[in-house]
């Protein structure tokens, strides 16, 4: 257990020392070399789990965190989380290796970069290994936060900040939805553990919250995995440095939504809503992404839309695979189990080819200073190795043999063909739409892959359009994409090694109820001449045709009106709400003290009066009143007269004297009410205050006659009378309700408890000693403030004189 947590938290722990490494060692060694050790060691550690997990074992670890709230770092390691763990650490290691050559040691703030990257890696590992729903949510949001920080890494750029904000708003919004869904799940099954949720399926599936919980969870998954229509954040996230795009926005973070859907399949799978939403949204995203990718001229944007499209493909496969839950073990069930298997397979393949494609774009950007295909072309001659990698990965994405993309694409076609014949959930008549849309989207995919490869590397080389002298990338930058490219080919030839060791255990985690034989899950390149192969052939033919004629129709696609773009409306919406809240705030935040005080007083009156009256709190009891003496009545009258004098005084001296008189009368009240300490203090303070008033008033302007308008005065009169009335009623009611015995009896033991005969003093310096200590602090701060305010003036006057 200890080594497991040590490795999972290694990124967070290591992030602490990164700034020091950067500060002291970066001049000699690029900080990335140290950071590289983290994912590498995690990767190796996770590799050790493969044999036992492949044999069907799972591991469960618990680290108490807040046991009283039942929040523990419960980790669950099964095939699915291992697959993701390996992707996170493996691609992480390659990306960091790549970033060492991509991010300049001298110019970039590497400590920020690597701290954010490690934070993300730790959060992502947390997501995939958490079994506790709330901990899962916490890590989930942490990935959004670190993604925000990484997108805005070049924060001087306006577009970076905007892209980061957009990604944050959308993914965190989805995260909230997911949290709501989780809370419903927790309410239904009365457990925090995903394991136990799956064990309590009966309760959940027959609960009325089943559907709302599903929808909320899906909002989280769709926003994170950039599914239509939430996909708009991903293209803008391409403002991040390319290693980040390659890591977060194609290989790992955007797959968190896929992970969530896969994790939740045992719970929600088998329901028609789940099938239609996951498969339908996936299919639409696939089509939308591939079509939009074609019209991009920026290579990174092209890859962003292609990622959206591929994520849609995986999502669609997971949706189709969820039908296996409906059919259960058996022939039909097995067919759809294979679809889920294909989803996992394509997820892995996508990480390999898309990761390397992003790195290729990074290389092109790095070497030529451009990544717009209108300026690029003919790079084949100057960058042969990069071209080879791009060719391998690009053709794999297009779904051609002998690359791994071909295998999973074939399986995808197989799955959608099966769906069209499933005949449930209303699929009978429109089920045929699945293969058709998949086929059309595949043609578009083929076209944008061709655009990516041949518009960049083919054609005429035009060095005059580039900002730098172009040559092949340094070897260090090529290692990572080469490794991924090699995987693309290796997996094609030996798919079943991967299938058996990693994908099958992952499949068992997604669909635990299905018992499938290794025979069903055998991946092979040749199935005979079947419908899938014909589809692939026709995709290639139509794709080539479209690519050849691209010049004619792509212009029309690029002229797509902006008013129809989701992103445009999102931006408009953000601007609109900002303006709205600005004008709304300006309407009441007027900067006038009087207005603010009116708000406070009105709230005071409304809240207290309404609750007094509404809760029948109005109750008077005059029976306990002490008798009124002649002297006291006189004092009260004198107080009122003094107060009115302050109010009416046209002369400041009169006002001050009247106020002083009030203070002294208060101290007389204290004498009558048997409070000698108060009387003494009040006397002293009043004297000092009056002197202070006199001192300050000497410098202040005279009291002006009230020349305000009647309405102004009337408002003031109404509010002040209401205040007085409220306070009086409240105080009288408080006197009328004696609910508890006073606690003063405790303090009357002052002599035994504190050794003091003056109870008030004992309370102040002993029972409530800390209060007094803080009171003294307040006094000190105020004194310092007064001193500084006065002193500053003197200093400024001196400096004015010297000028």
């Amino acid at each position: 257990m200890v080594p497991f947590y040590a490795f999972i938290f290694l990124p967070f722990i290591f992030a602490i020392i990164v700034p020091f490494l950067y500060k002291y060692l970066n001049r000699q060694i690029h900080t990335g070399w140290f950071v590289l050790l983290v994912p590498l060691s995690i990767f190796i550690y996770l590799l050790l789990y493969i044999p036992s997990v492949a044999a069907g074992e799972t591991y469960r670890y618990t680290l108490p965190w807040i046991p009283t709230l039942e929040i523990n770092l419960t980790s669950y390691l099964d095939g699915l989380s291992l697959l993701f763990g390996l992707l996170i650490s493996g691609v992480g290691a390659l990306v960091i290796l790549y970033s060492i050559f991509y991010m300049s040691k001298e110019r970039e703030a590497l400590h920020n970069f690597y701290v954010y990257l490690l934070m993300f890696m730790g959060a992502m590992l947390g997501v995939v290994f958490s079994d506790h729903l709330l901990v899962f949510y916490g890590f989930w949001e942490l990935t959004s936060v670190s993604s925000f920080l990484l997108i805005s890494y070049w924060y001087e750029r306006r577009s970076s900040r905007q892209g980061a904000l957009k990604a944050m708003l959308i993914t965190v919004f989805g995260g909230f939805g997911m949290l709501a869904g989780f809370i419903m799940l927790i309410l239904m099954a009365d457990t925090y553990s995903i394991r136990e949720l799956i064990a309590n399926l009966d309760v959940i599936q027959n609960h009325e919250l089943f559907l709302p919980a599903m929808l909320c969870v899906l909002v989280g998954a769709f926003t994170k995995s950039a599914q239509f229509p939430f996909s708009i954040w991903l293209p803008d996230a391409m403002e991040a440095p390319t290693p980040v795009s390659s890591y977060l926005h194609s290989a790992t973070m955007v797959k968190a939504g896929i992970y969530l859907v896969a994790r939740m399949t045992p719970i929600f799978g088998g329901s028609s809503v789940w099938f239609w939403l996951v498969a339908g949204v996936g299919l639409i995203t696939l089509l939308y992404g591939s079509l939009t990718a074609i019209r991009q001229t920026d290579l990174k944007a092209l890859l962003a839309y292609s990622t959206i499209s591929q994520l849609g493909l995986i999502m669609c496969l997971l949706g189709v695979g969820s039908l296996a839950v409906y059919f259960g073990p058996g022939e039909s069930g097995t067919v759809f189990t294979v679809a889920t298997f294909a989803a996992l397979f394509h997820l892995f393949n996508h990480s390999t080819f898309k990761g390397s494609l992003f790195m290729v774009v990074g290389i092109i950007d790095h070497e030529t200073g451009r990544r717009d295909i209108r300026f690029l072309g003919g790079l084949m001659q100057v960058m042969p190795i990069t071209f080879t990698i791009a060719l391998i990965s690009g053709l794999s994405m297009a779904g051609l043999p002998p690359f791994n993309g071909f295998l999973s694409k074939e399986m995808f076609f197989g799955a959608v063909n099966e769906v069209s014949q499933a005949g449930i959930f209303g699929l009978g008549s429109i089920g045929v739409g699945f293969p058709i849309i998949a086929w059309v989207a595949s043609i578009f995919t083929f076209v944008y892959c061709m655009i990516f490869i041949f518009k960049t590397f083919g054609g005429r080389f035009r060095p005059e359009k580039l900002t730098r002298e172009v040559h092949e990338a340094p070897l260090g930058m090529l290692i990572s994409p080469l490794v991924l490219g090699a995987l693309v080919i290796l997996i094609f030839f030996f798919p079943n090694v991967l299938g058996k060791l990693i994908l099958t255990p992952a499949l068992t985690a997604v669909l635990p109820m299905m018992d499938v034989t290794p025979y069903d899950l055998k991946i092979s390149a040749w199935h005979g001449l079947n419908l899938e192969l014909l589809m692939t052939f026709s995709v290639i033919i139509f794709g080539l045709l479209l690519f050849k004629t691209a010049k004619r129709w792509i212009v029309a696609l690029r002229g797509f009106p902006q008013g129809l773009m989701l992103s445009h409306w999102f931006n408009r919406g953000i601007e609109g709400t900002e303006k709205l809240s600005g004008s709304l705030t300006n309407r009441y935040m007027t900067g006038s003290l009087r207005h603010y005080l009116i708000y406070i007083f009105s709230f005071f009156v409304l809240l207290l009066l309404s609750s007094l009256l509404g809760l029948y709190g109005l109750h008077f009891d005059f029976s306990q009143d002490a008798p009124i003496g002649f002297f006291e009545a006189g004092l009260v009258i004198a107080m009122i007269i003094a107060a009115i004098t302050v109010l009416m005084a046209g002369n400041r001296i009169i006002a001050i004297v009247a106020l002083g008189a009030m203070g002294y009368m208060i101290s007389m009240f204290f004498v009558i009410f048997r409070a000698p300490d108060l009387a003494l203090t009040q006397m002293v303070v009043e004297t000092v205050t009056t002197v202070l008033f006199l001192l300050c008033f000497y410098h202040l302007p005279k009291l002006k006659k009230n020349i305000e308008r009647i309405s102004f005065k009337l408002t003031n009169v109404i509010i002040s009378l209401a205040m007085g009335l409220t306070v009086s009623l409240l105080a009288l009611s408080a006197n009328g309700h004696k609910l508890f015995e006073p606690i003063t009896a405790f303090f009357e033991n002052a002599y035994e408890l504190a050794g003091a005969k003056n109870i008030v003093n004992a309370i102040l310096v002993d029972f409530r000693g800390f209060d007094t200590l803080l009171e003294i602090s307040v006094l000190t701060i105020a004194g310092l403030g007064v001193y500084l305010l006065v002193h500053q003036r003197v200093k400024r006057r001196e400096s004015n004189e010297t000028e």
């Binding site: 900067g591 002490a626 202040l700 109870i759």
Partner: protein, 112 residues
């Protein structure tokens, strides 16, 4: 007695609030002082009035006035003094700087 003091408190609060709502800085400070006097009276009234002797042990064995409100008020008086002093100096500085003591002219500007 309690009822009488409560009524007095109500009147003082009204007058204080009225002063606080006016435009001139000086009146606001005066108003705040009056309100704080009123609150002190309110606190001591809430403990009951003339219920016993001064809370000093050794004078008598039983029947003291409630000591807790007194302790609270003692703190309040001192804090109030600190606040008044600070606000007064602040008024003075504001007047020095802006040459006005009208709150309407002292209000903040947009985008500040």
């Amino acid at each position: 007695m309690e009822t009488l003091i409560v009524i007095l408190v109500g009147i003082l609060v009204s007058i204080g609030t009225y002063l606080i709502l006016s435009k001139q800085l000086l009146r606001i400070v005066l108003g705040a002082s009056i309100v704080s006097h009123a609150v002190n009276l309110l606190i001591i009234t809430s403990g009951g009035l003339k219920k016993g002797s001064a809370p000093l042990l050794g004078e008598r064995e039983v029947g003291f006035a409630d000591a807790l409100p007194q302790a609270l008020i003692l703190t309040a008086i001192v804090i109030n003094f600190a606040v008044t002093a600070l606000v007064l100096v602040l008024c003075y500085r504001a007047y020095q700087h802006f040459r006005t003591d009208d709150m309407e002219q002292l209000r903040g500007h947009e985008n500040e």
